[in-house]
Amino acid sequence: MGSVIRIVLQRLALGLVTLLIVSAVIFGAVNLLPGDFAQAVLGQSATPEAVAAIRTQLGLDQPLPVRYAQWLWDAARGDLGVSFAQANFASFTGRVDPSATVLAQIGPRFANTMFLAGVTAAIAVPLAVGLGILAALWRDTAFDKGANIATLSSISSPEFFVAYILILLFAVVNPVLPSLSNIFPGMSFGERLEKTLLPALTLTLVVTAHMMRMTRAAILNLMAQPYIEMARLKGMRPLRVIWRHALPNALAPIVNVVALNLAYLVTGVVVVEVVFVYPGIGQLFVDSVKLRDIPVVQACCLIFAAAYILLNLTADILSIISNPRLRHPK
């Protein structure tokens, strides 16, 4: 058992190092910009004196490594800087308006995005595993072939195509769900769920396909094993064979795929949030990209990357824990 803890700790450390390097890449990429923040903020009205004043104010006259360390230290303490789009830089010399900090902008939106991802996962994971088991049970039947075509099609469609078809069917032609997810604080849970349902369904369709294919493949991989043959020969029913013998052994790859797909959700969320005008972090990210609001872009990028690394790490650790062969590397 001790070795498991050691491996998990090793992986965690590795993930932390990765995150550190990724943050350096993000910081470095932004500093490739010609000119600097001060010029970008002031735009047309950049007199040399004003630029110099802001440079000292923001510490931009420091060398790059010092600025990176400062940024990282602030980020670790939750201070992600001030949004260009929100800050009124004329009054920046005084105190910072609390609503202009990146953290104040991201905070509530982050919660919304987590809610959307949570609802999606709650629908998609049981659905995908269930359908995957059925496809394995009824393999090479019309159901299996139909599922194959349907899942390949939904993997290959862009998210916005699925989203607009769902809007067309469930919001315009049969108005049962709202097509715009205008979520605001103080909403009841039921109302929130209703507004989130359409984006969540879109993401579900995109993510389920991949998870279902992998579940089917993982179970079918095991079907040639001697113990499955044995179970079948002693007269067990097919569904019971899968449930009792195949599924527990296929759990490791399935859990792995679930975690990887949740990591994929992180990117899928961006497009879907824009389609449904869902007030999440993805929409903020795209808006900031268009406004060139660099502190927000940096922070969003860092959050997305952290979520992605964390989920990949989880997949890694879960597959090690569930597979004794990986627990004792030669």
Binding site: I21, V25, L137, L152, S156, V266, S288, V289, R292
Partner: protein
């Protein structure tokens, strides 16, 4: 809430139908082995299929379900076209080609047909399109369908957009711009990732370590997010020059996607480097270029080709998504992602005139059909290469 009750009720009804059907079949057939040994799961499957067919027929009959009928008809047209194409392939052309078509599944035939049509449209866009891609033609917001009573115009079979550009022409030019740029990006990604990956495999040592760790770091950032970050920076660099921004986008996506190609090329290359014929070539004193391009590349071609198809789909979807978000291919060029975003508002009027919804859905459909087609072909190629039957 009532939706859930309906769903549960339908499930219970199907379960009851399966049980009843199995019981009746056993009774009527005098307990024939086929029904005696059928498990309840299989019977449930049949009942489910029956219910699905019944629901389909009911939807088809319903007067309001225009889109369902269109979808079914579209699916049928695709299937028939693929079937005819396969039939033609089996009886026309040289013997080698005929043999390829003989064992091809319908899905793969469909994929090849789609790729051929898209390539044709993309290459000859300037001759096929009735109008220019930037031409503003007076009448704005013309409804697709060409029916004057519904707000259409026979001169514009698919209507015009908000500033009066012909949607059909823009769709056709979109094949050239979107698919062409995606293809160029994929080629660039393959050139970069493939040559560096094979080089890392041949040279090994510190070069391999440096490149691999670098790729690991780049791959730790989700690709769409990273592309958006770099595009922000590129947009500051390009400073409003739209052509330049599109060029930067191609470069950025090529670099991000080349990391995935690098991984594959390196792992395939490492397997080949240890072969005897590579050793022999080394002993002959061949240079690095000869080793990579004459000895290793031809033997790594099959997996790389399959990867090319998949990578193209990813690049294509990424470019479409970026354009949809408004930071990809820039306006004067017609492109499908941007078209979806610009025409999206039309979807709200679909309840009054079903044709209106076609305007934003057609470019999205064009994207989906191409990626589905390429995926089908790649699926078939991988299946054939692995020799697996299930």
């Amino acid at each position: 809430m009532s939706l859930w009750i309906w769903l549960l009720g339908a499930l219970a009804a199907i379960a009851a139908l399966a049980w009843l059907g199995l019981w009746a079949a056993r009774r009527l057939s005098g307990n024939a082995p086929r029904y005696r040994d059928m498990s309840y799961g299989v019977a449930f499957g049949y009942a489910l299929a029956l219910a699905a067919i019944a629901a389909g027929v009911w939807l088809w009959m319903k007067p309001g379900a225009v889109y369902f009928r269109w979808a079914v008809m579209g699916f049928a047209v695709c299937a028939v076209a693929a079937f005819l194409f396969r039939l033609a392939g089996r009886h026309l052309g040289p013997e080698r080609l005929k043999r390829q078509f003989r064992k091809m599944p319908l899905t793969a035939a469909f994929g090849i047909l789609v790729i051929l049509i898209y390539a044709f449209v993309a290459i000859f866009a300037a001759w096929i399109a009735p109008h220019g891609q930037e031409a503003v033609l007076g009448a704005a917001n013309v409804v697709p369908g060409g029916d004057p009573a519904m707000g259409g115009d026979p001169a514009f079979p698919l209507g015009t957009d908000r500033i009066g550009r012909d949607i059909l022409s823009r769709l056709i030019y979109g094949a050239q711009n979107t698919v062409g740029l995606a293809f160029a990006t994929t080629l660039l990604a393959f050139f970069l990732g493939g040559s560096l990956g094979l080089l890392a495999a041949v040279v090994g040592g510190w070069l391999d370590q440096v490149l691999s760790r670098g790729v690991d770091v780049l791959m730790a950032i989700p690709s769409l997010i990273f592309a958006l970050l770099l595009l922000t920076i590129a947009s500051v660099w390009a400073d409003g020059a739209r052509g330049l921004l599109t060029f930067y986008m191609v470069l950025i996506i090529a670099v991000i996607d080349s990391t995935r190609v690098f991984r594959l090329a390196r792992s395939v290359g490492i397997g080949i480097v240890v072969m005897d014929y590579v050793e022999a070539a080394k002993l002959r004193g061949e240079g690095m270029g000869h080793l990579v391009f004459r000895e290793i590349l031809p033997n790594a071609m099959a997996p790389l080709l399959a990867e090319f198809g998949l990578r193209f789909c990813f690049v294509f979807l990424t470019i479409a998504s970026l354009s949809f978000l408004g930071v990809g291919i820039q306006p004067p060029l017609a492109d499908w992602g941007t078209m979806v975003r610009d025409l999206a508002q039309f979807i709200n009027f679909a309840a009054f005139a079903p044709m209106v919804a076609l305007a934003p859905l057609l470019p999205a459909l064009a994207i989906a059909i191409l990626t589905v087609g390429v995926n089908f072909v790649v699926d078939w190629m991988l299946h054939r290469a692995s020799g697996l039957k299930s």
